[in-house]
């Protein structure tokens, strides 16, 4: 389909080896021609391109390089070819075109070493960030600088209101799964009615908050990191600083505040919807009527279960928002960094939330809210 370039090797009247090229010497024909010429064993003394068709810089480069490597002369070049070859003479360079990459056996230990060596610095940066956050918070509390209400309200909407749909759907389905799976096991033991206890208590104590935290980390934590990271790349953060606007007060505080305020509300909402999901499936498969399920919940779920969930929620919101904002602020260099930092923000947030949840579980049991 593509036209080809070809070559022949002859000996001219003076007994010199002449390589005669024919066809178009273009980037589209170079893929075949170049390895052939490179593999030539015979020394070439002259390269004749008078029979060649069109030529572009790739063709000119191949001809010129062959001439250079063999110490050969170039003949039969028309005006365009001469011009191209002349332009390339100054451009032909050696040198690396890829950044240095170590062999795997050395790269992996080096990467681990770099990571470990960078750990203390990253802890200090995190501490620095938390300190700056506290200072900004204190400045606002003391009234030295105003709280940005519009930004807070906007974030409340993004973190909370727009998450209602997906969190509701997720919680409803989780509620169905708990009730249905729990019922199968409990009915075997003859305690089918305990399904209500199971669904109610686990939703309010653990799953409602935990699932919400994971969803908020995925939705909002990632968006905090990506947005602030992109703003760093486009120098918006620097612009803010020069105008005298503290990025901490303008960007981080509203997001942290929104996450801290919204997490308990979303968590409670999630638990309620999960219970409704449980009631829904119980009506269909367990012969417990919808209303009976809901009124049983009031009897079997102690009030402190609700508190357990609600107390944890602001801490989780804080962790998610801080992880997102902190990672966003660490972005520098290129767009790949935004992706990496966003990933790290979500992973760290979910991990920290689960670790903290384990501590809370033990703590609340110890203080008698079991």
């Amino acid at each position: 389909m593509r036209d080809r370039a070809d070559f022949t090797i002859e000996t001219d009247a003076d007994g010199r080896a002449v390589l005669a090229l024919s066809g178009n010497l273009l980037v589209s024909t170079a893929g075949w021609l170049d390895p052939q010429l490179r593999a030539l064993e015979v020394p070439i003394q002259r390269i004749d391109i008078s029979n060649a068709g069109e030529i572009d810089t790739v063709g000119a480069w191949i001809v010129w390089r062959l001439a250079r490597d063999n110490g050969a002369a170039i003949s039969g070049a028309d005006e365009a070819a001469t011009r191209l070859i002349a332009a390339l003479k100054d451009a032909g360079g050696e040198g690396e075109i890829e950044p240095e990459r170590l062999p795997t056996l050395r790269r992996v230990p080096a990467a681990v070493g770099d990571y470990v060596a960078a750990l203390p610095a990253s802890w200090i940066r995190l501490l620095d960030f938390l300190g700056a956050l506290l200072i900004s918070g204190w400045t606002i509390i003391r009234g030295r600088s105003p709280l940005r209400f519009k930004a807070v309200v906007r974030q409340l909407e993004l973190v909370g209101v727009s998450a209602l749909g997906i969190i509701g759907l997720m919680s409803f389905l989780v509620g169905i799964v708990i009730a249905q799976q729990g019922a199968v096991q409990l009915q075997d033991l003859g305690f089918g009615e305990l399904t209500v206890n199971l669904t109610g208590r686990i939703s309010f104590r653990e799953l409602g908050i935990l699932m919400t935290a994971i969803m908020v980390a995925g939705r909002s934590g990632s968006s905090f990191a990506a947005q602030i990271g992109t703003m760093k790349l486009t120098e918006e953060i620097d612009a803010m600083r020069t105008i005298g606007v503290s990025p901490m007060e303008a960007l981080v505080i509203p997001r942290v505040l929104a996450a801290v305020l919204m997490m308990p509300l979303l968590g409670f909402y999630s638990a309620i919807i999960a219970v409704i999901g449980g009631a829904f499936i119980s009506t269909l498969t367990l012969d417990i009527p919808f209303h009976a399920f809901l009124s049983r919940i009031q009897d079997v779920v102690p009030l402190h279960d609700v508190w357990v969930g609600l107390v944890k929620a602001p801490f989780f919101g804080f962790i998610i928002a801080v992880a997102g904002c902190y990672q966003g602020m660490q972005v520098k260099g290129n767009s790949e960094e935004v992706g990496l930092r966003t990933t790290v923000a979500v992973v760290q947030a979910i991990f920290a939330v689960i670790v903290l949840d384990a501590f809370f579980a033990v703590f609340f049991t110890e203080v008698g809210w079991g």
Binding site: V27, G31, P35, V58, R65, S335
Partner: protein
């Protein structure tokens, strides 16, 4: 195709182009022909749709109406059609910010189009091509292994140009190549564009605000105003046209300064015995 290169007179023909965003009309019945082997400067006020015109021609913006032929091939906006893929391998585009892939080095950026269109080229040759393209674009050889974030604005433009030239295109689209460059860098970039155009026989579609660029290297200038191309011609021809925008553009303080600078340069050239 038997001919490897386009041999017609007008590699870009735009006719009756209409572009509109949300009812806001950008182009109304716009027509433009670009001659083979010329550097066509495209000027117009901010928001007059210069970039939209370029994006329409290179197929990034689907026009509401009108026809666009590039290298004799009607562009229908079907990215999978083999003819349009062929056309796309024969143009190079330099975006305003360079639009280099930030996770690749400069040389790797140049290699991307080569890999994409000519996978049969082996690594050795592709590296060599990347290396000489980088140097043809006026970058030092060590820039080849650097990442875009390690380059200055002017160097990034040159790296973008190296990538635009990767496939030895017949057509080169430049979107404000000298914007954001210092005067020395801008003049050097102009000279580079002209030299490459001469050497490689390119047809250049150049969007610019830079009057010096227009005076120095453009063969003809197309003026975008009132939602269409109101005039195409050399600068002296345009100056004859009695249109308020054209008059204000070329006869405003900056236009006159650029013209005067050109005359001064010419006067210096004509006095060979005035050397130091």
């Amino acid at each position: 195709m038997s001919e490897a290169h386009y041999t017609g007179d007008y590699p870009i023909v735009v006719e009756g182009l209409v572009n509109a965003f949300d009812g806001h009309v950008i182009h109304q019945d716009l027509s433009l022909k670009v001659r083979r082997g010329e550097i066509l400067g495209v000027v117009g006020g901010s928001g007059s749709g210069k970039s939209v015109l370029m994006r329409s021609i290179i197929g990034l913006q689907h026009p509401a109406a009108g026809s666009i032929d590039v290298l004799g091939q009607p562009m229908t906006g079907n990215p999978a059609s083999p003819d349009e893929i062929d056309v796309r391998s024969r143009w190079g585009v330099l975006f305003q910010g360079g639009a280099l892939f930030s996770t690749l080095t400069v040389a790797e950026n140049v290699e991307v189009p080569l890999r994409e269109f000519y996978p049969e080229i082996d690594d050795t040759l592709r590296h060599e091509i990347a290396r000489y393209k980088v140097m043809l674009s006026g970058l030092p050889p060590e820039a080849a292994a650097k990442f875009p974030s390690e380059l200055s604005g002017g160097m990034r433009k040159r790296a973008g140009l190296a990538r635009a030239l990767a496939l030895d295109p017949e057509l080169l689209f430049l979107d404000e190549p000298t914007a954001g460059l210092d005067p020395i860098g801008a003049a050097a970039f102009d000279a580079l564009t002209r030299a490459l155009q001469d050497t490689l026989g390119l047809t250049v579609f150049l969007i610019t605000h830079d009057l010096d660029t227009l005076y120095e290297i453009c063969d003809r200038v197309a003026v975008l105003a009132d939602k269409r191309v109101i005039a195409v011609g050399t600068i002296p021809e345009l100056l004859q046209i009695d249109h308020p925008w054209i008059q204000e553009y070329f006869n405003g303080p900056r236009g006159r300064a650029a013209d005067a600078a050109r005359h001064r340069a010419k006067a210096m050239d004509n006095q060979p015995d005035r050397g130091a």
